[in-house]
């Protein structure tokens, strides 16, 4: 059974989704979907712990490049474990924060869409086939659009629709990029493409350059790289709690991983950073994103929107790491991807706990939260510290890696910018903290109700994630060592 794990990670949620449709009973649906996510997590974690040499799984029994290949390396296993874990935590939140109509007889559809989204993301990560990436990208995208639209307010519909339009443009750009590569190489297997790419009559062509541009722009849209980020704030802010925490921790991360693989595996670092000199361009864009995202976050009036803009800034960190075009940069990127996934998911889950306590995520309405829901406020502070990258949190470990990567390549300016922009994080986090602790609660606000006043379904997972972040912050060696070997492999074009 162990050799089937690569495919089981994906197939378990993918086949549980139709089962949910048959099952329909809300309680059973909830348990089954949680079980499916947990099973997928177990498979992913087992893979992560056991994989040494890359595992190649031949779907349909056809060896690559004839058939589709699933390929598990340390890097993919790391991302798989991350995504499944976060999905499980988000599923604990369940259908809260959705339109009431969803919970009314349609719970099974919500959970089915959730699992499909998960399966799509996982499928993208584990596949070694370029076109298969597109197929699973669309599974996750389509379900995401529907899930986002389940938010409480009508704005969720427009958010989802705009996301759909931009996302489909992005997906189609990816399709064009894959098509052009296919045109020049005659294959769809990623490693096979990479092999062809080293030949001058392929790698030197203008077609490949354009393919590169389309893949980068396509993934850039889905990744919300500045200035292609317009869909993200509304999509994150308006979607139901479980969805925003899930998306924030996984969707952009998986796309980031795809981008990394496109750059480092498909095209190869020497082509991207040597021939095309893409590093400078990406670096400048990243800086703009880091500052634009964080600055915009400072001026938001709603908590979830603030977190969403902060994500845009954090994507800037990720792409900055990639732009170094170095092994250290790859390592820092992978690490920050993980750290930010945990931190941001935790924050969105806290936001969910706050929303269920306060009824809204308007920052104004959080006045005096330090008195009304002290644990929620405290959890937010912890998460915020992780976002800032205060030592002792996972965010610091990855920021440190970023810093080292920047300095190792002599990018002193990047290093300074990195630190300056984390100050902006201080500003937007502390703006909320001040409201929570320094503003008097509204006179009609209910008083603190002790431990029973909390929405433990949300606060519990949030606290667990916070503790995980702090543990990783002071004892990171298991993860950093793992990620370092994964990054080395990835950077050298291994898949």
């Amino acid at each position: 059974m162990k050799e089937q794990l690569p495919v089981l990670v994906v197939v378990v949620p993918l086949l549980t989704a139709p089962l949910l449709v048959l099952l329909r009973a809300p309680a059973a649906v909830r348990i089954l979907s949680l079980l499916a996510a947990a099973a997928s997590t177990a498979a992913a974690v087992t893979l992560a712990l056991t994989v040494e040499a890359p595992i190649s799984y031949h779907l349909g029994g056809w060896p690559p490049p004839i058939g589709i290949e699933y390929r598990v390396t340390q890097a993919t296993a790391f991302v798989l474990a991350l995504v499944t874990t976060i999905a499980t935590f988000s599923l604990l939140l369940g259908a809260r924060g959705t339109r009431s109509e969803v919970t009314n007889g349609r719970t099974h559809l919500f959970y089915a869409a959730f699992l499909l989204c998960l399966a799509g993301l996982l499928g993208m990560v584990v596949t070694g086939d370029a076109f298969n990436v597109f197929v699973f990208l669309e599974i996750s995208s389509l379900s995401t659009y529907a899930l986002v639209a389940m938010g409480r307010r009508r704005r969720a519909f427009t958010a989802a629709l705009n996301y759909l339009i931009l996302g489909t443009i992005g997906g189609t750009f990816v399709l064009i990029g894959i098509g052009l590569l296919f045109q020049m190489t005659g294959t769809l297997n990623a490693l096979d493409i990479a092999r062809h790419m080293t030949q001058a009559e392929v790698g030197g062509t203008r077609t490949v350059q354009v393919a590169f541009a389309f893949l980068v722009v396509g993934f850039g849209i889905k990744l919300a790289v500045f200035p292609l980020h317009q869909w993200l704030p509304n999509a994150y802010a308006e979607s139901p709690s479980a969805v925003s925490s899930f998306l924030a921790g996984t969707a952009t991360k998986v796309i980031y991983f795809q981008t990394m693989r496109a750059l480092l595996v498909l095209f190869g670092a020497s082509y991207v950073f040597g021939t095309l000199r893409f590093g400078l361009f990406l670096g400048v864009l990243s800086l703009l994103g880091m500052f634009a995202g964080s600055l915009a976050a400072i001026y938001q009036t709603s908590l979830k929107r603030l977190l969403a803009y902060s994500s845009i800034g954090q994507v800037g960190y990720l792409t900055l790491a990639l732009s170094f075009g170095s092994e250290a940069g790859t390592y820092a990127g992978l690490l920050h991807m993980g750290a930010h996934a945990i931190t941001k998911t935790a924050l969105f889950v806290v936001a969910a706990a706050i929303v269920s306590g306060v009824g809204t995520d308007r920052i104004d309405a959080l006045a005096g939260l330090g008195k009304r829901l002290p644990l929620c406020a405290f959890a937010f502070v912890l998460g915020g510290l992780g976002l800032i990258g205060v030592p002792g949190t996972a965010g610091f470990v990855s920021k440190w890696a970023l810093l080292e990567a920047a300095l190792a390549d002599g990018h002193l300016g990047y290093a300074a910018a990195l630190l300056l922009s984390s100050l902006l994080a201080v500003v937007y986090v502390w703006r909320v903290v001040e409201v929570m602790y320094f503003r008097q609660p509204p006179p009609d606000a209910p008083a603190a109700r002790g431990l029973r006043g909390y929405d433990w379904g949300a606060l519990g997972p949030a606290l667990v994630l916070m503790v995980a972040s702090i543990l990783l912050g002071v004892w990171s060696s298991p993860i950093t060592g793992y990620v370092r070997t994964a990054a080395t492999q990835l950077f050298r074009g291994g898949l």
């Binding site: 529907a146 427009t158 629709l161 339009i165 189609t172 399709l175 045109q183 006045a367």
Partner: protein
């Protein structure tokens, strides 16, 4: 017959026509129409790749139970890929149209400008309410 690469240019033009409709038009239904034109044109890009001059559809011409010799077939692989792409296209269209219906129900319009304006007004009203209710 070798038509060079001019037909790719036509395909590019069609793709861009679709993309233009998506980006320039403010009506959501129209945007989705643009999107389907865009997607269909990309399908055409792939299918064009699969064409082999003088070829025929990739279905074995059988000669006594085995494939006949000497027949040139066009490439089946792009066709397979594009069957998937068509499905993706119609799936996207369906979900998009579903969203449009909900937007219309919630806002009374499917024009992006109207919707955005309403959102802005609602946000301003909300902020005003808070300012009044607050200390």
């Amino acid at each position: 017959m070798n038509t060079g690469i001019w037909n790719y240019w036509v395909v590019v033009f069609l793709m861009m026509a679709g993309l233009y409709v998506v980006m320039a038009k403010r009506n959501y239904v129209k945007k989705l129409m643009g999107l389907s034109i865009f997607q269909v044109s990309v399908i055409m890009l792939y299918v064009s790749m699969g064409k082999v001059t003088g070829g025929t559809a990739p279905i074995y011409v059988l000669d006594g139970g085995t494939p006949a010799e000497g027949i040139v077939y066009s490439n089946a692989l792009p066709h397979v890929l594009m069957l998937t792409a068509i499905v993706v296209g119609v799936a996207t269209t369906a979900v998009g149209l579903g969203l449009i219906v909900r937007v219309r129900e919630a806002y009374g319009s499917v024009e992006e400008d109207v919707v955005t304006e309403q959102d802005r007004a609602a946000e301003a009203a909300e902020a005003r309410d808070f300012a009044e209710a607050g200390p």
